[in-house]
Structures are given as C-alpha cells and as structure tokens.
C-alpha cells in the first residue's frame, strides 16, 4: 500500500511516498513560494517519480504544515500530530519531540502509545528560528547548509542573547562590526536558539525519555550540538528528520484509510 504525505511549510514543501506505512519510497522537496498549491503538486510529482509509481497507485493522501488548507485532496492533520507520528515511526518509544521549522517551533510530549499528551508552541516573540538562520547565513555570506558545520569550529563562542529574531539580527550586525569570527558568531547564535528551545521543551518534557528533533532545522549539526550540550544527552535525529511531518502525514493517512476500509467492510 502506498500513501503520500505532504508537508506545506512556510518555507519549503515536502512530499513523501510511504510504502506500507513504514518504508520511505520517495521524497520530493521545493520552496513553498507564493503558490503553495503548485509547489505541493510539484513536490508530490517528484516524490512519486522517485518512488517509481503513478499517482493512481496511492491509497491515500494527507497534508500537514502551515499552508495545508490549500490542498483539497485527502485528509489534513496538524503539524504537531504529523510530527509526532513521524518521530514515533523513527524512534518508537520517544516521549519528547522538538519540532523546529522555518517560522514555528513546538515541544511535544508523547505518551506510551505515541499519542500527543501535551504540547507547547513557541510564543509570538520567539517566532522564526529557521528564517532567522537563513538570514544569518545570507548576512554572513555563507551557504545555509554550511553554517551548522562551521559553528562546530568555534573556539570562543560569542553570546547572542535574544529571544527575538529582529533583535538578534541587530546583535549579529554588532558582532560583525566587532569583527568577530563567523564560527564564533554562529556558535553563539545556536547556543541562544538552543536555550530558547530547551526552555520550551522543559515545560512539557519527560526527563526519563530521549528527545527527538524534527523539522527543517533538525539536521543542522550546529543546532544539534548546541542542544545536546545544554541538555547533556544525545538527541534522536533521523536522516529524514526534515521530512518527519510529511512522513507522519503519510502514516496517519494510511491509518485513516485502513479504518475507513474496515468500517466499510463491517
């Protein structure tokens, strides 16, 4: 059985084709831009192509993410529900999930069945972690996928203490004008972001269980290291962490489909 999960985020749109609610058969990704429906269509096509199947082989489609409502097909799930399901698939038994995306972040506490037990979303004034990192990369003139790595080389991290991305950008400019090394700036930025995220997580977390990181920022080594340093534990990060929402949606789509089939059969 194939199902497709679409995660239409503020920044990028991800599509996953899942085989039997478990194996990732195909992936697709692109910027959301100002035509989210078209971007979703393209991402899905890419995922179908890489899975080597046609759209009519899909049993179910589900969408999640910020702009999920532009998708009229299939079912819809909230970002938190989808990420929880995606995280649970990669790390069964994980109780704590931290979702870090372009505009929002959230801490989720799961119960022993992988069900959302509690969650906290970012407050308004700390919106935009991923977007902020993008702008940092741009200002520093370093490719986005390299800043995380670069931060690991910091010898003298410079604090960039701010909850707010606007103020943090000003602080960034201040550090640039003080001619601080980019690696040290970046490490400082990751430390500040990590504090923000861990603060949110601690409001809901189960300290006896591991923490799973998902979302667009999840694969960023600088981010992972900074959180790990504060928490003193290793994070669960799947190589598909960025696709966790789409994977979760695909899983949930499969379950809904299954249930409906059962209902019809009954």
């Amino acid at each position: 059985m194939y199902t497709c999960g679409l995660d239409i985020g503020a920044r990028s749109t991800k599509a996953i084709v899942l085989e039997d609610s478990e194996r990732v058969a195909g992936r697709g990704k692109g910027l959301t831009g100002y035509k989210p429906a078209e971007s979703a269509e393209q991402a899905m096509e890419e995922a179908l192509k890489s899975a080597g199947i046609k759209k009519d082989s899909l049993q179910a489609i589900a969408s999640t993410g910020y702009a999920r409502k532009v998708i009229t097909e299939g079912t819809q799930f909230t970002t938190i529900g989808a990420h929880a399901a995606g995280a649970w698939r990669s790390f069964p038994g994980t109780k704590n999930v931290l979702v870090v995306s372009a505009l929002t972040h959230a801490a989720i506490r799961l119960d022993e069945n992988g069900q959302v037990h509690q969650f906290r979303m970012n407050d308004e004034c700390s919106t935009g972690v991923g977007r902020y990192l993008e702008r940092v990369a741009k200002t520093l003139e370093i490719p986005l996928d390299e800043i995380g790595q670069l931060a690991l080389f910091s010898k003298d991290p410079q604090p960039v203490p701010s909850n707010c991305s606007v103020l943090a950008e000003n602080e960034l400019l201040n550090l640039i004008s003080r001619e601080v090394k980019p690696a040290d700036i970046l490490r400082g930025i990751y430390d500040a972001l990590a504090e923000r995220l861990v603060g949110l997580l601690k409001q809901v977390w189960d300290e006896n269980s591991g923490v799973t990181l998902t979302g667009g920022v999840a694969r960023n080594p600088g981010m992972i290291k900074a959180i790990e340093d504060i928490m003193g534990v290793n994070l669960n990060v799947d190589h598909d962490a960025e696709f966790a929402g789409a994977i979760g949606a695909a899983i949930l789509a499969g379950k809904t489909e299954k249930k409906e089939t059962e209902e019809v059969a009954a």
Partner: protein, 264 residues
C-alpha cells in the same frame, strides 16, 4: 581635490567621491556581508574606478553608517543621520524632513535650511528592520527584490499587516497565501504597512515639506507610492537615493579637508 564618503550600512556599503566643486565623480556599491572593512574597501575602489582616480588622490575619507568604525583607512566618522541631512539638503535645498529607510533602522530627521539636525526619531525596537523586512518577504515569496515593487502596483487591494513585528508578519503572509489571496495584494499590503510605520515616525517629528526619501527603497516604486499615499505629500526621491548618506559624508569630508591646513 577629491573627498570620499563611505556609508557602511547593514545591507549595502556605498561610497561617493566628489571633487573640490562638490561634483560627484564616482560611486561604488557592494554588499556589506560579514567583513565590513573589506566591503568598505571594495566600495571605495569601485568609486575610484568610476572617478578614474587613484585611491591616493582622495584627500579625505569620512565613514558613516553602522559600520563606520570598521573603515581602517577613513580619516574620521560621522553618524548616518548627520550625513543624510547633509546629503539631502545638498540635493534638495528646500527639504526639511528626511526619511531614511535602512536595513536595520528607519530614521525620520527634521533639519533646518543649513542641513543641521533639529530632531530625529528612530523606529521602536519592535518595529525594527523595515528594509530587511521587504527583502525577507521577497525571499520568502521566492520573488526578486526588483520584482516586488512593480508587482505591488498591480494590486487591487492592500492586505495590511496587523503585526508590528516583521517576524510574525511573515506568519501573516503565509496565512494570506493559505487563504488564496493574490500575491500582489499581499505585497501592496506590506508596503502600506512599512509606510504606515515610517509615516508615524515622521509625524512624531512633524512633517515639514519637502520630504526626502533615502535608502535602498528609493528604487522601489511601489514603496515610494505607498509612502506618498500615507504621508499625503510629494516625496523627493531619486533612484540613486541609496547614496544620499555617502554623498553627505563626502560633503563633510570635503569641508574637513578644506579646513585642515595642508590636508588632513
């Protein structure tokens, strides 16, 4: 004699070289990036190239903008506000109000007929980053910066942002997109919002005509139109408005060079 002003802004670094008759001889503009002294040097050399002069021909160099202390080869510095005032009054002798929409800050400046700063107002902390907000929105919508100004002119309506904050403003944009709103209307709304913030700063110091706009947004027709609508007055605005600060700095540099016996 040649004098140069270098304006190291948060987004772009600009340089203007003038001669002893205050005529612009060369201009340079580069991205500021992460190395401000390099940016300053590049902008300066670009201006020298255009002026067809050797860098040693420039008698006096004055730095301005937020990175003004990062220009190791400058002779002195002045803040952006002072330089904008000088640059604006030189270009538009009747101007009394200047609005500088920069990357980091928006500043409204009231000046007298000599170009001296009488009062100024800078945006609230929470209102920060107007210039960069526009840039960031273009990026989010996957559009080029030069496109969005023109696009906004095609709008049927303006979807203004309720949010003060430019970061949460992006959340609102996504929400509009999800509801299927036209991108033109969204952009027009963003310009109206930025114009709204800027005009409230101008009102705080009191609008006195003529009003001059400076900064990178001068090249953005949609933004200029939105500002004129909000302020209800004509705005002096040239496409090279981004150089006003550097130009003002060059004018001050020339004075300093003239007043300092035997050069600097």
């Amino acid at each position: 004699m040649l004098a140069c002003g270098i304006d190291v802004g948060s987004t772009a670094t600009k340089a203007v070289i003038i001669d002893g008759n205050r005529v612009v001889q060369g201009r340079g503009r580069v991205n500021s990036g992460a190395n401000l002294s390099r940016a300053a040097r590049h902008a300066f050399l670009e201006a020298c190239r255009e002026a067809q002069c050797h860098e040693y021909d420039v008698t006096y160099i004055l730095g301005t903008g937020f990175g003004r202390s990062n220009i190791p080869f400058s002779h002195s510095q002045a803040t952006g506000t002072t330089c904008h005032a000088r640059g604006a009054i030189f270009r538009y002798p009747e101007t009394r109000t200047i609005l500088d929409i920069g990357g980091q800050d928006t500043v409204a400046i009231r000046i007298n007929e000599h170009g001296e700063v009488l009062d100024f107002c800078i945006n609230d902390k929470c209102d920060a980053g107007n210039g960069r907000f526009i840039e960031s929105v273009a990026d989010l919508l996957n559009l080029s910066l030069s496109n969005i100004g023109e696009l906004s002119l095609k709008a049927d309506k303006k979807l203004e942002m309720a949010n003060v904050c430019s970061v949460t403003g992006e959340v609102e944009i996504i929400n509009y997109l999800e509801k299927g709103q036209d991108v033109e209307d969204i952009i027009a709304g963003i310009f109206a919002t930025v114009a709204d913030r800027a005009s409230s700063l101008v009102r705080r110091i009191g609008i006195e005509e003529e009003v001059t706009l400076s900064g990178g947004v001068t090249a953005n027709r949609g933004m200029v139109k939105a500002l004129e609508e909000k302020l209800g007055v004509h705005i002096n605005c040239g496409v090279d408005g981004v150089y006003i600060g550097a130009h003002g700095a060059a004018l001050i540099a020339l004075e300093k060079a003239e007043y300092t016996p035997g050069g600097w």
